[in-house]
Symmetry: C2
């Protein structure tokens, strides 16, 4: 299997390197051959090649079996014109590779729950998966432009039936191997696009009689994620709603530094990245928590390579490392031992074997 | 002063009646004359007049000095076609009366904080005001329609410079009599409309040198509301972002039944309503918490009638009632006394005198 690594910016370099090491260890352990190729994206790519997404990067990704991304962005590029911003690289690669299905699992680690802003009894047993549509909706619709000489502006939330169907199917597929419940989030009391979304969810649900389905308005969902997060199994929603709700959900369990994500196309190909950002404040210091990137690598094994046992082994090694008290500076594990990125990675590798 | 009361559906009737009584008591106490006129909106208006917003209701509101709304909606009308849904009444009246500025204060009551899903240390001292643009953005833009014979769909997020300027000014005005900090929430790394929004915030901020301003991406704001709600003072944002964030914020303090709102036009005229819904499950039982409606009436006195002292008196009476342990069934006040809607209202009135 050939894997393109896009380290990106800030701690992206460190955490993607850590995830790569874990993948190498898993390959050795299970007798696979993984080859790796590094390419530029984001701010680093702007500095080196004058573009947040060089053609070479796109071409390399298209020839790979999967892509591992670190993180993009940083204050250095914040004042750039919009086509020269690191995020454009991320939006661009999603679109180029047709990665329409963004999966963001949120699960609490019981020995980290004390760091949650929520009370333990509210957040414990939460185990949800947000399935966000990633290449359509409000973030990609056209027109998206100034008008009347700059005195007005429009953005467009557009979907085809096909785009909604494929993401909704993904959510039902995911639910059928989980707790068999889908919450479809929309604003069907106001938006036309949400009405079509709701109709399609009803249609698709007929093919999954074992999965229960519920429709929830996005404002209600924003409340319920906080008041009873454990009542969700799979949430499926439009790009922008998913952006907001998945970030909201990411802080519930008190361990943003632990959350992985997968962005998949129709054929199992995917880009895997931690949910956290590039953390420019601690970049290069060897302090970054590599676990979200490592868990993203585990998602790669599962979703792109069908290597479920291997993925499971990595996930267990991560849990085990935490249970033994190993943690990076971002986590507070009473009685545990604080270690750096490298040591954390080695610990996971040792436990994996 | 002439006030139109729109009881609406479910507990809307009970809580608007309670707020009206408190307004009458305040009028007596401070020697004002308030006249009241009841009109239909929402599901009740659909049942009676075949429209969620009868012309007579609009005309009456246009002739009033302020409008007090209970709540709209209920399962009875959920299957109706979209022009016959209660929410259309609400969206319609906002647009008809040009109520572009929705103010939603969120403040914790220290003896109710134990009911918050958040840890006390996270949520205490939170006191924020969400200023949501209410008549533009994604919920009102055109086109909003099916296309290609139903195989695709668009909604539109549209703003004119003028629409953004007036809401942003409102936020700065509000901040200048509060803690002098504005957080403008957008998605300027993706949306054109957010870029214009951000530019206008920068321009307007020059007229308020004493107010500090910060730009925050909507996904980051959704996180920060949970991890450090007390760091916000005034939040200003687009209609749909404001819908999501204000509902998210409404559950932070554990007392959704306490939250008022005001929707204002350019000249101080406004519609005042509790943030909670019509709660059809307890409608007509006399159990509803009237405090959010009563606090909405206080906002009316302040924002539409300039009666600051009167408003303050109502707010103090509400706090005092809670401090004395009086509460309705939705609130859990250890050692307190649970009372019904009527008794709660009388308690506030007694304390006001
Ligand atoms: C960087 C930004 C464009 C991106 C998004 O909103 O899609 C990010 O917030 C994310 O959620 O992956
Ligand atoms: C009922 C609905 C249209 C409305 C809105 O989204 O504006 C409500 O959710 C609100 O926030 O007042």
């Amino acid at each position: 299997k050939h894997i393109v690594v896009l380290p990106g910016d800030g701690i992206g370099t460190e955490v993607s390197e850590a995830a790569k090491k874990v993948l190498e260890a898993a390959a050795e352990e299970f007798d696979h051959t993984f080859t790796f190729e590094e390419q530029a994206i984001g701010g680093t790519a702007i500095d080196r090649y004058g573009s947040p997404l060089p053609d070479e990067t796109v071409a390399a990704c298209k020839n790979a079996d999967a892509v591992l991304l670190g993180a993009v962005g940083g204050p250095k590029w914040d004042q750039n014109p919009s086509h020269l911003r690191p995020e454009k690289g991320l939006l661009g690669i999603r679109k180029e590779l047709n990665l329409f299905a963004n999966l963001r699992p949120v699960q609490g680690f019981s020995n980290l729950l004390h760091a949650s802003p929520l009370k333990r009894e509210v957040v414990e047993n939460s185990d949800l998966l947000i399935v966000r549509e990633l290449t359509g909706g409000l973030y990609f619709g056209t027109p998206s432009e100034r008008r009347d000489g700059g005195n007005s502006v429009v953005d467009t939330l557009a979907y085809s039936r096909h785009e909604i169907e494929r993401i909704v199917k993904r959510a039902f597929e995911a639910a059928s191997v989980r707790r068999k419940h889908v919450t479809s989030v929309d604003k069907a009391n106001v938006l036309e696009s949400s009405k079509l979304w709701r109709e399609i969810v009803e249609e698709v649900s007929k093919d999954y009689p074992e999965v229960t389905v519920e429709h929830m308005l996005v404002d209600a969902a924003a409340m319920k994620l906080i008041t009873s997060p454990s009542q969700f199994d799979v949430i499926v929603t439009e790009n922008m709603f998913g952006d907001i709700l998945s970030d909201e959900a990411s802080v519930l369990t008190g361990s943003l530094g632990m959350l992985p994500s997968a962005s998949l196309n129709d054929s199992g190909f995917g880009l895997y990245e931690p949910v956290h950002g590039s953390a420019p404040d601690i970049a290069g210091e060897g302090k970054a928590n590599p676990l979200a990137a490592i868990l993203s690598a585990a998602m790669m094994l599962k979703h792109s390579f069908g290597m479920n046992e291997e993925a499971q082994r990595i996930e267990s090694a991560v849990s085990e490392a935490l249970e033994q008290g190993y943690h990076t500076a971002d986590l507070d594990l009473p009685g545990g031992q604080q270690v750096n990125t490298e040591r954390m990675t080695e610990t996971v590798i040792d436990l994996l074997k």
